[in-house]
């Protein structure tokens, strides 16, 4: 634990990262950027779990375990998302979210 850094400092960082991700998800048009935004949000959650575990409940282990599972699931999610984005790219030659216009009504 670093001297002078409390639980609220790290929570502020993780909250900022979360909302940066959410903002990016709403404003960006490139699908890879959208994925990066989702990753930012998930990583802020992981940070949250570790911080709560370390500062508030040092005797517990659930937060760490949750983080490990979270990282694995996030990796699976990104792999699948990129696979689908590639199959979209093959047909459209674009990964721009604005190009997705064949479904509407």
């Amino acid at each position: 634990m670093i001297e002078g850094i409390g639980v609220f400092d790290v929570l502020a960082v993780s909250t900022i990262i979360f909302f940066v991700g959410l903002f990016g998800f709403v404003t960006r048009k490139n699908m890879i950027s959208l994925l990066i935004s989702i990753e930012l949000m998930l990583n802020s959650v992981a940070l949250n779990f570790v911080v709560f575990n370390k500062f508030l409940y040092p005797g517990n282990i659930q937060g760490y375990i949750f983080t490990l599972f979270l990282i694995a699931v996030a990796a699976a999610e990104v792999a699948l998302a990129i696979a689908i984005i590639i199959s979209f790219y093959r047909m459209d030659n674009s990964i721009d979210a604005d190009e997705m216009d064949s479904l509407s009504g």
Binding site: I38, L42, F66, V73, A81, I85, L103
Partner: protein, 471 residues
């Protein structure tokens, strides 16, 4: 060791998935389409086996719990999946017969169902989260299954991005709950989860993840696009099985951790219910594509389900489960007809259904019963499902909600009857020609019709759930 048998349903389904992997290797290319029969047969056995009684208890320090109620929720899902598999028989054999990807479809579908089991039986947030992701990530693969179509890939991208962001919001909520209570087990969370500003935010963020799965307004934007772009069996799966599982999980978790927080989530669900019913109905009015139409109709139906959750007692729980079972059968009947017609003729617009009764009277009748049940017209089951939902909401003085619900039922009657009018009254120059379905598809459609009729007339089913719920 005896305890492990509590996970019987999960183990059997996992066994089927592994067995299918072996089958995939053993079958030669010529025999690949036999996978359809093997997978459907295995799942039929699993469904029948699932009705054998199972004990109650918990495993892994409370991570996994099962009671007769959980077990019967899984049975309801099983029956739904079985009907869906029978209805997709022709789709799978004809459309994918000469490709090597047929087995994948069943493996992915069954893993999704496995995820739903864990989601329902979860005793802590970690198990719930893993179940939810297992139930929603593979579906993105199914949505994008039709690799030759741009629409399918586009729907897949939309689904997985929206699923990712909603599960991130939900996880942030869970991390806050962990920070507040210091535990991820529902039983321990319930003890120290009291009303503060932070816990209110945490609970609402957590619920928005489930709201995405149930596609409540304003988390419904993916629904029509994904239903339209995905192959019809997958849209059917999403609107029926996936939604019912998420409803079950939501009500079970709220019953476990929501007791001290009713002042937060009840008003939220109240407004969500009103919004979902109204918006779903109003958008359904102007749809011409059958898949989009059914998508918005399923959004509206989700709003009615929320009424039962709001009641928050045994009767509410019972009416939610009862309505979900009826909804599964009714929607499978309508989607089944849309599916066989889309497969035979490629037509998905409402106008294409003009004069269907003259050429295909049986299909038109199945569709009629399904739509009547969705609309809630008395002789069929849908009426009783809605009736019990309204009653449980009225018992807790949600009169405004009930009035708005009744108005919405009336609106929905109009657009369900539009389809009926097209099939029975309209004439068409080029009606859909008569065609005969293969026997498994016929059984699938017949089973859903039997479900609609029997659940409405046979009251012991309701009483049985009520008896389970009151424990």
């Amino acid at each position: 060791m005896n305890n492990f048998l509590l996970m019987r349903d999960e183990f059997v389904l996992l066994g089927i998935i592994l067995l299918l992997l072996v089958v995939e290797i053993l079958l030669t290319d010529k025999d690949k389409k036999n996978v359809v029969g093997i997978a459907t047969g295995l799942f039929a056995l699993h469904t029948a086996f699932g009705f054998m009684p199972l004990g109650e208890g918990s495993m892994f320090g409370g991570s996994f719990q099962t009671t007769h109620l959980h077990h019967n929720m899984k049975n309801i899902l099983n029956v739904g999946v079985l009907i869906l598999l029978l209805q997709t028989w022709t789709w799978a054999r004809v459309k994918w017969s000469n490709r090597n990807r047929l087995t994948e479809f069943y493996i992915i579908l069954f893993s999704t169902v496995l995820g739903m089991y864990y989601m329902i039986s979860a005793g802590d947030f970690l198990m719930f989260f893993l179940g939810l992701e297992l139930a929603s990530l593979p579906v993105a693969g199914l949505v994008a299954f039709d690799l030759a179509k741009k629409r399918s890939a586009e729907a897949g991208v939309k689904f997985i991005l929206m699923a990712g962001v909603s599960s991130a919001v939900m996880l942030f909520g869970i991390s806050l709950i962990y920070g507040i209570t210091g535990s991820i087990y529902f039983t321990e969370v319930a003890q120290s989860f009291h009303l503060t500003g932070l816990s209110a935010i945490a609970l609402l963020m957590f619920m928005s993840g489930l709201a995405f799965k149930i596609s409540l307004v304003p988390f419904h934007f993916w629904t029509p696009d994904v239903y339209e772009g995905a192959p019809v069996p997958v849209s059917s799966f999403l609107s029926v099985i996936s939604k019912a599982a998420a409803v079950f999980a939501m009500i079970l978790i709220l019953f476990q951790i929501g007791k001290g927080m009713t002042t937060v989530w009840k008003p939220a669900l109240f407004w969500l219910a009103i919004l979902t019913m109204t918006v779903g109905n109003l958008f359904a009015l102007r749809q011409k594509n059958m898949k989009r139409f059914l998508a918005f109709s399923s959004v509206a139906q989700a709003g009615f389900i929320l009424m039962g959750i709001l009641a928050f007692d045994e009767m509410g729980l019972t009416s939610v489960i009862y309505f979900s079972a009826i909804y599964i059968f009714s929607n499978l009947a309508t989607f089944g007809v849309v599916q066989v017609i889309s497969l035979k003729t490629g037509k998905e617009q409402m106008d294409d259904y003009n004069g269907l009764y003259r050429t295909n009277p049986k299909l038109a009748l199945v569709m009629l019963l399904g739509l009547f049940s969705l609309a809630g017209i008395p002789p069929v089951a849908g009426f009783f499902g809605k009736f019990f939902l309204f009653m449980s909401a009225a018992a807790h003085n949600y009169y405004l909600l009930v009035i708005i619900g009744v108005i919405n039922v009336t609106i929905s009657l109009y657009y369900y009857l539009l389809v009926v009018r097209a099939m029975f009254l309209r004439k068409s120059d080029k009606p859909i020609a008569f065609f005969k379905n293969e026997w498994p598809v016929q059984i699938g459609l017949a089973l859903s019709v039997i479900g609609i009729l029997v659940l409405g007339m046979y009251s012991p089913f309701y009483e049985y759930i009520l008896q389970l719920a009151s424990n």
